[in-house]
């Protein structure tokens, strides 16, 4: 079961992944996203690809035996009466929670996310997907309008300004995280005041998020 995954950011990079590998990718991105202090690169293409795959499976239900349909539904999504709903919606649960986690972060750090996106040049990969960007902009406008309508308008004119720099919620990128090494990496500067360390596969480390963030984007490590 081969399906191609066209990387929109890099047209010449063409990846061939099986559905199982795509699923694995989503799982890793989901866990990373849950545990990182700020948004990671969007994995929109993984989400789309997987949902498409689910759709294909669901479309073929008419040809399958009822037993097979039951199991497929269990993997994708199904509401069965004799067990908890959470256990029965594996793939869609993961997709929804991934998207929800990202939206929560966007809502928390709206201004920061928008600013980040604006300073980026065309070459770099955006953190937000187009849909998320639109959402962030809307959310930001609505919050600002709401604050102005409800409170600022009624203040003395000297206090009516909303200072963006001061009101912005900035994520703490220096927070500590746990990570597991997926590929050997040598000479990593985990702390500016310490000597670089070598990371070997399967080791688990604790360090600050910021110094290792590039390794996370390169999927050389994963958060645990």
């Amino acid at each position: 079961m081969d399906l191609s995954l066209d990387d929109t950011a890099n047209d010449d990079e063409y990846e061939q992944l099986t559905a199982a590998q795509v699923l694995e990718r989503l799982e890793e991105s989901w866990v990373n996203e849950r545990l990182s202090p700020y948004l990671l690169e969007t994995q929109q293409e993984v989400v789309d690809c997987l949902l498409e795959q689910c759709q294909t499976v669901e479309d073929n239900f008419s040809q399958a035996s009822s037993f097979a349909v039951g199991i497929h539904q269990l993997e994708i999504q199904a509401v069965s009466k004799n067990s908890e709903p959470r256990a029965t919606q594996r793939i869609k649960y993961m997709v929804t929670d991934y998207v929800r986690t990202r939206l929560k972060k966007i809502e928390k750090h709206t201004e920061y996310a928008l600013e980040e996106e604006l300073v980026k040049d065309d070459q770099s990969v955006p953190h937000l997907s187009p849909a998320e960007f639109v959402y962030a902009r809307e959310f930001h406008r609505n919050t600002r309008d709401h604050l102005t309508e409800m409170a600022l308008k009624h203040m003395p004119s000297a206090f009516q300004n909303l200072d963006k720099q001061k009101s912005m919620s900035v994520p703490n990128l220096n927070t500590f995280i746990f990570f597991k090494v997926k590929e050997d990496v040598n000479d990593v500067q985990v702390d500016p005041r310490e000597t670089p360390v070598d990371l070997s596969k399967d080791e688990i480390h604790i360090s600050k998020y910021l110094p290792i963030a590039p390794l996370l984007e390169q999927t050389k490590i994963k958060l645990v």
Binding site: M1, A19, A20, L23, E27, V31, R34, L35, L50, Q53, C54, V57, S65, F67, A68, I71, H72, L74, E75, I76, S80, N82, S83, R86, A87, T88, R90, I91, Y93, D97, N172, N174, T175, F176, I177, F178, V190, D191, R193, E194, V197, D202, E203, I204, H205, I206, S207, K208, V224
Partner: protein, 189 residues
């Protein structure tokens, strides 16, 4: 993360079952399973095993490590060293809880349950001890700890200390950085 989400991750681990029905190979998104034939062991993800078991379509084969002798040995090993020994399975607590809850066929179930709990407790005690050590760590000259390697720990164990531990380290770093700034500031000297 939510402990339930870690259980969710554990549910994709594969386990052997003895089906009591006949069915062709299934091509799931996460991979192929089957074919199923009565009394022929087959490997399936745990979530599928749980569902089939609930519908009384299979028997779960207890994993090798859920055995009294293996667990006793592990417990002894765990008690010996200061460091974490390699866990029997990266999701040993989640898996054993699910299997013990589902299947009445585990041999010496009560003893297995107690031993797993013992192993978990020994490891938890080690974890608390090392957390204490790490927080009180003084890398010379009041330099805060910035990086630690900690191996053989399971995801569930990490999760039990995550919130409290990372938050404490964050605070310590903030305080120490401020202290450093003050020490270097002539106004305070």
């Amino acid at each position: 993360m939510d402990p339930a989400q870690i259980e969710f991750l554990a549910e994709k681990e594969s386990i052997s079952i003895l089906p009591n029905f006949t069915e062709d190979k299934l091509y799931l998104i996460s991979g192929e399973v089957g074919p199923f034939q009565p009394q022929v062991p087959v490997e399936v993800p745990l979530w599928l095993a749980v569902n089939l078991k609930q519908r009384q379509k299979c028997r779960i084969i207890t994993p090798d490590w859920m055995d009294v002798d293996v667990l006793k040995e592990k417990k002894a090993e765990e008690l010996e060293g200061h460091l974490f020994s390699k866990p029997l399975h990266p999701h040993f607590l989640e898996l054993s809880t699910i299997i013990l809850g589902m299947s009445s066929e585990v041999k010496d179930a009560d003893e297995v349950r107690t031993l797993i709990k013992d192993i978990w407790d020994v490891r938890a005690a080690k974890l608390r001890k090392s957390v204490n050590k790490m927080i009180n760590h003084d890398g010379g000259g009041g330099k805060p700890l910035a990086h630690v390697e900690i191996n053989n720990i399971t995801v569930l164990e990490l999760n039990t200390i995550r919130g409290f531990f990372t938050a404490s380290l964050d605070h310590l770093h903030n305080l120490r950085n401020h202290a450093e700034l003050c020490l270097n500031d002539p106004r305070y000297n």
